[in-house]
Symmetry: C2
Subunit: 444 residues, 2 copies
């Protein structure tokens, strides 16, 4: 996936460690899925679907290394941070999320502890375990438990064993480093196939600041409040309220516009920590520098959002849907989401089939007031652009050209509603055999 | 799939021809998908997803006969009928649907002409072609064009060639018969793998009446107003208003509770024709027999809805979700729909994996006010029943037993919200490799 760059915000190395004063680490503490008596997906079912369960084709998706991959990560700032977060709006909320919400009431935090494999959600002892993770972290770092943010991701509804985590935390602390970002990224990955991190530098108040983030999330991804686990750090000085304002503003046009499968996670959270070590004057709502901070956050979260969609479970293609000419932004976003969430359209993109009727269909059932007789549709990619519909009706196009356009790994769907001046961008991915395979035996 | 039977409504043979005075037929007039330069889904893409595009596994899904299958059907009543219909609420509406709406304004119809392969939707000449289908039918039958209902299903956005239809209609008329129901069923099938028809008999006013229907629909199925093309006939005498009332009431708890893929079709329509040839006194809103008619319609539409879900594109399992203890029916239906529409849960059912956390997740993001801390969840089938969650938390269960329960081809998800007394039933199916394969190259 190509990063989208903006000249005032050059990319920096180091992800969550790009900002001054942030250490990170990740270890494998040995969390495991609950064992199943047999291998998740049954061989009969695979065979019934015309797919042989044996052979290298089926085995390649989860490389062996994932069985030993990091599952516990820590981020620590040298100084106390202003903290802001947004959470999933799923009514079923993971226990870690509830504990974190409590700890962030004062807008301050210093460390993050996060595990993958097990979501610690829908468990009777979930709150207790999430609190224990904070206490163990606080003790190991010599800080207060309510300065610790906790997050978990993985299978829902299976008790989280605290022992491996208790044993892992001292190892995590011992290995903390200012270049530990990738170790941490690996620890939060679940079905993710690629490391997702990005950082930028920018200038505020004559000081050079950095802002970087990492994201996990491949399945159970649907826009609302926030999607996936995302951790962002910056050395800019920002008040907690200002940080929250910037985050809420940016999440709306980035992660909330992503869908992999329409399933909104129970454990989603985006956290931003700002430790002020760049030495700038604290940015407040009315600072002239607010816009710069917000834009830096936008560049990082935009790229994380695109990475998230491009690495959607089983995805072979990133779909970017640009809806323009809408009466307002909500209409544009609703139309775009409807298109990127259509299973039929997603499967057609996997098949590189310019079946634009499925786009028309998805626009037609979008939760938005749209005059479908005014719509123009184009499909585009690095390989070219084809015009497929005008004023709601199909227009002739070369199927060969369409095939060429759709053979790229980033596809743009351009929808002009020809009504107003608002627009929105949404991101999704194709629906593939691999999505079904991954989710047919996720727990095993 | 097992039919659900009710003692007062014994099943009858003949589908749409079970009712007295209804003839039907289906022919292959030679409608074709627009040719693609290559075979829809690319071999690279299949290989990238670990699936070999060659070999019998991939080819079995569409038997050779489908290439020569019927694509044009007609239903004709010996006498004029009261007619009622419900239509998709997709804002993009197929031209045939708009023409039909016009023709049914007087609540009367005598014949139906319907084609598969091409939806005649989003085409500049769509209205013209749909009207022509009615005129050709009317001419061949010696009736008025506005007594003809027209429907089309298939690819959206490709001009419908009228010539094959014009040539097919005389053949259709010539072969009309009181036992032509299966020929008609075959003509409306698209990606359907099974014939979907059912009929019942019942007694009204001392007369034996029949009510039977056929349904097509396998993909682009999502509950709203109506789903799929469904044609129902009865020889009971019913006023058009009463027929409409019964249909609107029943569709709400049957077809509107089905989802295969969340994609609401542009061409959905349910039509009921009542020709009164059973000789009963005309049933009106306030008749004591209204309930009997409504129940007969329910039995037929319930079974068609279940058949539709069970034969969802690529499906290996029917999922029936029963939500009880809701504050009202809307809450129960919203929770049920959310669960049967979850891609993650559908993939887990394909994998026979009791990953009930995905049910909790889908309940949590349902568009309904639910106290998630009160929910109990069971999974059941002909093979047994397991209790997986209580008061919102997971409970231990035998994975082996779960596997046995989920190995059946009809799975029940039983959700108790433990709040009120309302309940609702929804139907869906698993998400499989085959769904992706079918929709990766649907147009080719």
């Amino acid at each position: 996936m190509k990063l989208q760059s903006f000249s005032e915000f050059p990319f920096a190395e180091g992800g969550i460690c790009a900002a001054k004063g942030f250490k990170a680490n990740g270890v494998c503490c040995g969390l495991k899925h609950q064992a199943l008596p047999s291998d998740g997906i049954s061989e009969q079912n695979l065979a019934a679907n015309g797919v042989e369960p044996e052979g290298s084709e089926i085995d390649i998706a989860l490389p062996d290394e994932t069985k030993q991959k990091n599952d516990l990560a820590m981020i620590v700032s040298d100084t106390e941070c202003a903290a802001a977060a947004v959470y999933t709006s799923n009514k079923v909320k993971g226990a870690p999320l509830l504990v974190t919400k409590q700890h962030l009431k004062n807008g301050r935090a210093k460390a993050v502890i996060v595990n993958s494999v097990n979501a610690n959600t829908c468990n009777a002892d979930g709150m207790e375990k999430a609190a224990a993770m904070c206490e163990l972290t606080a003790k190991a770092l010599g800080i207060e438990a309510d300065d610790v943010v906790v997050a978990s991701t993985g299978v829902i509804g299976q008790p989280l064993p605290i022992e491996p985590i208790a044993e892992g935390i001292p190892k995590l602390v011992k290995g903390l480093s200012y270049t530990g970002n990738l170790e941490a990224v690996h620890a939060i990955m679940t079905t993710d196939t690629r490391e997702k991190e990005v950082a930028v530098s920018f200038s505020v108040d004559g000081k050079t600041c950095h802002l970087g983030g990492m994201l996990k999330g491949s399945g159970m991804i649907c826009p609302n409040m926030a999607t996936t686990l995302t951790f962002i750090t910056t050395d800019a000085a920002v008040s907690p309220e200002t940080l929250q304002m910037a985050l809420s503003d940016v999440v709306r046009v980035t992660l909330n516009r992503v869908s992999v499968d329409g399933d909104m996670s129970t454990n989603d959270m985006v956290l931003v920590l700002a430790n002020g070590m760049a030495g700038n004057e604290e940015i407040r709502r009315d600072s002239t520098d607010y816009r710069t901070l917000r834009d830096a956050l936008y560049v990082v979260m935009l790229n994380l959002a695109r990475m998230c969609a491009a690495d959607g479970e089983g995805a072979t293609k990133l779909i970017e849907c640009v809806v323009s000419g809408a009466d307002n932004e909500a209409v544009a976003a609703a139309v775009g989401k409807s298109v990127i969430m259509s299973n039929l359209f997603k499967a057609a993109i996997f098949g590189e089939d310019a079946n634009w009727g499925r786009i028309a269909c998805a626009i037609g059932y979008a939760d938005a007031d749209v005059d479908v007789t005014r719509i123009d549709v184009d499909l585009a990619s690095a390989n070219g652009r084809i015009h497929v519909a005008e004023q709601g009706f199909g227009v002739p196009f070369s199927e060969e050209e369409a095939k060429t356009v759709l053979s790229a790994d980033e596809i743009q769907v351009l929808i002009a509603l020809n009504s107003g001046n608002a627009s929105a961008c949404t991101w999704g991915c194709d629906l593939t055999y691999e999505y079904v395979r991954i989710n047919g035996d996720y727990r095993s």
